[in-house]
């Protein structure tokens, strides 16, 4: 199944592979969502340090997430997921209160259709219905195919919120075909369990970074710390990296055309400092350090959580044998990755390149060499 490890796939220490013979240990992030309090200090600290511009003043209706996604103008993004599921509370939060059914996936998704453009061209558009639908749990719910195509036309309430409920015969909730209005239930489906997941997402700094592999200008490069950085003085805005990213992280800034994303604070690392987001994080949800150490710490944390009765705790992006050779920024999650808007099984989009090489033989290799030579010309 898994092809032989090589520079483009499989376990690897990426910095030496990219020519850093005396590379320091690979550095990365471990984001433990089980202690995240959703304060967004990471988002702000990142913007302050890196001079990242505003990403739009839109109420997205995705719980407390008004950032929406990782974009060229948001290099950290805190996702909020409200779920009618147990959260390890001793007694379910709403046990014994007179509740009906939970808020529906549709309600969140419809809302997302009302968001405005944010001046960026992200891999995952902010406020897409599928992203918003995660809020209600159970993964991406395609309840709103029509709306996704044209939100304003398909949903008169979203287009004209003043119309909501006015003059109607009875309570109207969103007007969605097939969407169960909350509170309409018989009481049997009364919500008692609830949990509020928060997760600070960031560029994964993949071991095999497709964005880097496809970059024709050498703007994207592997640093000595094993991280992946866009060099703003080189990027020409071709946009190849955007479609290459299996996570939808990298994004183009509309006004300058260049691609931007988390640099893992390359300038701070060089000075022996902690990246801005990890430095600010009040609860140590974002931890920075040598990747090997972080992986050990993360494994221990998962074990502790399992012992404390949180069986759903699991790691994401930690495995060097996964489709991207493991992430430099990996996570402890409390639900399926899709719930947080993460792909369940990301695969580096350049995985098949070696296979093609084998088949094409010497000629292809020669071509590749020529291409490399072209890169050199472009980046020197």
């Amino acid at each position: 199944m898994i092809p032989d490890p090589n520079s483009l796939y499989g376990p690897l220490d990426p910095a030496p592979d990219a020519g850093w013979s005396s590379a320091p240990p690979r550095m990365g992030f471990f984001t433990d969502t089980s202690v995240c309090i959703g304060c967004k200090a990471c988002e702000v600290a990142c913007k302050e340090w890196n001079g990242v511009p505003e990403s739009g003043l839109d109420l997205l209706g995705m719980s407390y997430d008004n950032t929406g996604a990782l974009t060229a103008n948001s290099w950290r993004h805190v996702a909020f997921i409200e779920q009618p599921r147990p959260a390890g509370h001793r007694t379910p939060p709403f046990a014994g209160t007179p509740t009906d059914a939970s808020v529906s996936a549709a309600s969140a998704a419809v809302a997302a259709g009302t968001s405005k453009r944010t001046g960026t061209d992200p891999g995952v558009p902010t406020g897409t219905p599928s992203a918003a639908a995660r809020m209600a749990g159970g993964g991406p719910v395609d309840v709103l195919g029509a709306i996704a195509a044209d939100p304003t036309a398909a949903n008169p309430i979203a287009a004209d919120p003043t119309a909501a409920g006015l003059g109607s015969a009875g309570p109207q909730f969103l007007g969605m075909p097939g969407a169960q209005p909350p509170g309409r239930g018989t009481g049997e489906e009364g919500r008692t369990d609830f949990r509020w997941l928060m997760m600070s997402d960031v560029c994964k700094h993949c071991t095999h970074a497709a964005c880097l592999d496809v970059c024709p200008t050498g703007s994207l490069f592997r640093t000595e710390f094993g991280t992946v950085v866009v060099q703003e003085d080189i990027c020409n805005g071709c946009g190849y990296c955007i479609s290459a990213c299996p996570y939808g992280v990298i994004d183009q800034r509309k006004d300058d055309g260049r691609a931007w994303k988390c640099t893992l604070c390359y300038d701070r690392l060089g000075a022996g400092m902690t990246p801005a987001c990890a430095q600010a994080c009040p609860t140590e949800s974002i931890q920075y350090g040598p990747l090997d150490e972080l992986r050990e710490r993360a494994a221990a944390r998962v074990e502790t959580l399992h012992e404390r009765g949180v069986p759903e705790a699991r790691l994401y992006g930690h495995d060097p044998n996964d489709g991207v050779g493991g992430d430099g920024a990996f996570f402890l999650l409390l639900d399926e990755p899709e719930v947080y808007g993460l792909p369940p099984d990301p695969i580096v989009t350049t995985r098949d390149l070696p296979k093609m090489w084998k088949r094409a033989g010497i000629a292809a290799l020669a071509m590749a060499a020529a291409t490399v030579a072209a890169f050199v010309g472009g980046s020197s």
């Binding site: 910095a15 020519g19 304060c39 050498g218 994207l220 703003e232 300038d267 430095q279 600010a280």
Partner: protein
């Protein structure tokens, strides 16, 4: 300098010599990237400060370059905050350098529909005159039974709780000496 020092000086021809044959790492590093430093490293000065938002009292380090605040971040030495800041504290540089900050005196004349400019010194003088006039008009020496009152209820003040102790001390001292009693604070709210 930190970790990068031992990296610096590597020849740019390393791609050709074979360590980075695909040109994705060391060879691709631009001159700008190679020369990057953390801007806190070359600050002219660092002030030990305290976050101005809530009352937790997180330590801040304020980095200054060429007379401008170049970065504000948590003070790792603080036993209260251990170098951490919330989103508001993290936004402190944007707060103090915000383009929305008003840096000129603004004056609105009675019945006017707009602001006009006013010199700071003139404003101070006008305010002093108005305080004295209001005090004069509303002064109370004694109550109906002849007991001392020594006060004016002609003007009042509502002070923020983001002022320094030293500032509050002078405010209270000056107003009290003027007989101004109606001095209040967010602490009442």
């Amino acid at each position: 300098m930190g970790l990068r020092t031992f990296i610096e000086g590597w020849p740019v021809y390393r791609q050709l010599t074979g360590t980075d044959p695909l040109g994705r790492g060391a060879a691709a590093q631009s001159a700008r990237s190679a020369g990057l430093t953390a801007r806190t490293e070359d600050a002219d000065s660092v002030a030990r400060s305290v976050c101005p938002y809530c009352a937790v009292g997180c330590g801040q380090r304020v980095f200054v370059r060429d007379g401008q605040v170049s970065q504000i971040e948590g003070d790792p030495d603080s036993p209260i905050s251990r170098g951490r800041l919330c989103p508001k504290g993290s936004a402190s540089k944007s707060l103090v350098t915000s383009p929305l900050r008003q840096t000129k005196v603004r004056y609105r004349r009675p019945y006017s529909t707009q602001w006009e400019d006013l010199d700071l010194d003139t404003a101070l003088d006008m305010i002093a005159d108005r305080m004295l006039a209001a005090r004069e008009q509303t002064w109370e020496d004694v109550d109906t039974q002849g007991r001392p009152l020594n006060r004016t209820l002609g003007f009042s003040s509502l002070g923020g709780a983001t002022l320094d102790n030293e500032e509050n001390y002078l405010i209270k001292k000056l107003f009290t000496a003027m007989g101004a009693l109606q001095i209040e604070n967010q602490a009442r709210i």
